[in-house]
Symmetry: C2
Subunit: 347 residues, 2 copies
C-alpha cells in the first residue's frame, strides 16, 4: 500500500512526523511494508513553488491508497490573494481527490469530561458522526466574485442532485452500521438548495427503511448540539453548515486536539486529517497533541487500508493513554512520551 503524507504548516509538521512513525510501527506489527511518500501543501508549498498545491503533490496523491494531511495556514500568508492562500491548497486537494464526504466522529472521552464546557450530565453517551459535504456548495460555486464595478459581491451555493445524493447515501449507510438514526440539517424554510436537499433525503430514505430520519433546521441544530448532544447518531449536512456545526460539536467533548476526520469519496484515496488547525502560536515547540492525527491514522486503516483491527488497537491505545491521565497539551514536551506509549500499545 502506498500512503502519501502532506505535513503542511505549523504543528501539521510535528504531528505528521509522529504519525509517520506510528504507520511504520503498525506495518511492522502487521508484518507488512508500506510505501510512504511526502508532498508539499499550504503555505510552505507556496514559498517553495509559488502555489499552495503543486501538481506534483496532486499526482502523488492520486497514485496513493490513502493521504494523511497535517494542517495548513498561518498569519504569514493571510494577506495573500484567495487563490494562492494555504487554504486554497486544502480546498484544492479535496476537490482533486473528489472526497465529497467528510466524516467527523465526536464522542465523550470519559477522561476528558472535566475539560468540557458542558455540564457532565449532558455528555453521557455522546457518540455522533457528522457527515459534511466537502466538495460543493458555497465553497466552490461560481460566480464567486466582485460585481458591479467592485460595489457588490457574490458567492454561489450550487449543488447538483447527484452531489447531494452521493453524500446522503454515505450518511445512510454509515447510520446502518451504527444506531440507525440520521439527522439531516438544512435551512429548507429559506434556501432552495435546502429544499432539494430535503427532497433527496426523503427519496433515498425509502431505500434505507431501517434508518429513522429527522430533519432539523440549521439554527435549531446549532442549539440542540449544545442542549442535547447525546441525542444524535449520524448528522448529514451541506459544506458550509457542516463546517460551522462540526466545529461547534468539536468543542463539546473537551479537546479539539483529540478529533480525527476522514474525507472519502468514490474511487480515489481517502484524505485523513486532524480537525485542529496549524496552531502557529505553538508550532515548533514540541507540545502539540498528536492524538487527533493518530486517530486519523486509525480511520485510514479502517476506511482506506482494510485493517480494522489495527484501527481498533490504535483507538484503544489512545483511550488508555487518556484514562491514565497523560495530557499532551498541558504537559509541554510530553510529545515523545505519547509516541512511546502508542508504539507499545501497537506491538
Amino acid at each position: 500500500k502506498r500512503i502519501v503524507i502532506l505535513p503542511g504548516d505549523g504543528i501539521g509538521r510535528e504531528v505528521t512526523a509522529e504519525a509517520r512513525q506510528l504507520l511504520v510501527d503498525v506495518a511492522a506489527a502487521l508484518g507488512l511494508q508500506w510505501e510512504l511518500d511526502e508532498g508539499l501543501i499550504g503555505g510552505g508549498a507556496y514559498e517553495e513553488t509559488g502555489t499552495p498545491l503543486p501538481e506534483e503533490t496532486v499526482a502523488k496523491c492520486l497514485r496513493a491508497d490513502a493521504v494523511l494531511l497535517g494542517a495548513v495556514g498561518g498569519p504569514k500568508w493571510d494577506s495573500l490573494p484567495g487563490d494562492v492562500r494555504p487554504e486554497a491548497g486544502l480546498l484544492g486537494i479535496r476537490k482533486r481527490l473528489n472526497v465529497f464526504a467528510n466524516l467527523r466522529p465526536i464522542r465523550t472521552w470519559p477522561g476528558l469530561m472535566l475539560a468540557s464546557p458542558l455540564k457532565s450530565e449532558l455528555l453521557e453517551g455522546v457518540d455522533m458522526i457528522i457527515v459534511r459535504e466537502l466538495t460543493g456548495g458555497l465553497y466552490f460555486g461560481q460566480p464567486k466574485a466582485r460585481v458591479e464595478g467592485g460595489q457588490a459581491v457574490v458567492d454561489t451555493l450550487y449543488y447538483t442532485r447527484g452531489e447531494i445524493e452521493r453524500v446522503v447515501r454515505q450518511a445512510f449507510s454509515l447510520a446502518q452500521g451504527r444506531r440507525r438514526k440520521l439527522t439531516s440539517v438544512d435551512k429548507a424554510n429559506v434556501l432552495e438548495s435546502s429544499r432539494m436537499w430535503r427532497e433527496v433525503v426523503n427519496e433515498l430514505s425509502a431505500e434505507y427503511p431501517d434508518v429513522a430520519v429527522e430533519h432539523v433546521l440549521v439554527d435549531n441544530a446549532a442549539m440542540q448540539l449544545v442542549t442535547r448532544p447525546n441525542s444524535f447518531d449520524v448528522i448529514v449536512t451541506e459544506n458550509m453548515f457542516g463546517d460551522i456545526l462540526s466545529d461547534e460539536a468539536a468543542v463539546l467533548t473537551g479537546s479539539i486536539g483529540m478529533l480525527p476526520s476522514a474525507s472519502i469519496g468514490g474511487e480515489g484515496p481517502g484524505l485523513y486529517e486532524p480537525v485542529h488547525g496549524s496552531a502557529p502560536d505553538i508550532a515548533g515547540q514540541g507540545i502539540a497533541n498528536p492524538l487527533a492525527t493518530f486517530l486519523s491514522v486509525a480511520m485510514m486503516l479502517r476506511h482506506s487500508l482494510g485493517y480494522p483491527q489495527a484501527a481498533d488497537a490504535i483507538e484503544a491505545a489512545v483511550l488508555a493513554v487518556i484514562e491514565q491521565g497523560v495530557r499532551t497539551r498541558d504537559l509541554a514536551g510530553s510529545n515523545q512520551a505519547f509516541v512511546g506509549t502508542k508504539e507499545m500499545s501497537e506491538l
Copy 2:
C-alpha cells in the same frame, strides 16, 4: 405614537396579547395614550387572505412608529411552496421595513444559571449583543432556483458594499455605548463576500478608533461562543451566519424563552420580536413564557419610542420576577400571574 402588533401563529398570539396589556399599562403609567393596531402575518394570514403578508399589513406597519411581532409558522403550513409559507411573511416584512440590523442581546440571568447547559464558571458576566444583517445575503440573493432542468439548484449570497457598511456602522456605534469591543465574524478564507465584509470593517474601524476590532472565522466563532462566551461584547455578522450563531448563543444562558430581539434600520419603524418561535406543540395552553416578548417591548421603548426609563423598569421587573423564582414554562397556567407581576412593577 402608533404601534402595530402582528400576533402571527401559535404562541405568538398568546404572548402578544399579554404584551398588548403591558403596552397599555406602560402608557397609563407614563400618562400617555398610544394607538394600538393589529395586523395579519404568517400561516393565519395565509388562511384568511391567501398570502402570508397581506399588503394591508405592510401599509399599517409603514405608518407605525414600531411593530411588535409574535412568531410565525407551524407544521400545518410546512408543505406549502416557499413563497407562501409563513416564513415568507416574516422575511417579507423585514425586507419591506428595511430593518437591516437585527440586535440580539444575550446575557447571564443569575436566576437561570442552573438551566444552562454550560458550566457555571463559563457564564460569569456573559453580556453580548449579536448584530445580524437581516435583509441581504443568502436569504434574498437571486438566482435562488432549480437549474439545469431541475437537476441542480442554486442560492445566491449577494451583498452590496453599502449593505455591509450600514449594518457594520450600527454595530460600531452600539459597541461605543458598551465595552467598545467588536467581533466581526466571517469566512474570509473561503468566501469572496466575507473578504469584502472584512475590508469594510477594517475601513470603518478608522472612524471608530475607540472600538477594538477582532475578526473571527465563523467556524471558530461557533466554538468560542461555547468555550468563552463572556469574552464577547458586540458581534457583527452576515444574515445566515447570524441566524446560526445567534441561536447557538441563545441557548447558552438557560432559556430561549427569555430572549428579545430588535430589528432596526434607517428611517421606518423598528420590528421587535421574541427570539423563540411559534411553538405549535404548546400553543393555546396558556403556558407560553411571555418574558421574551416583554423584553422586546422594552427594546421597543428604548430604540423606537424614546422611553429608556420605561425600558429599564420593564427589564428590572423581569429580573426581579426571575430572581423570585417564578418560572412560566415549568408552571403551567402561571401566565396570568406573570402579567400581574409586570403590571405591578410598572406602576
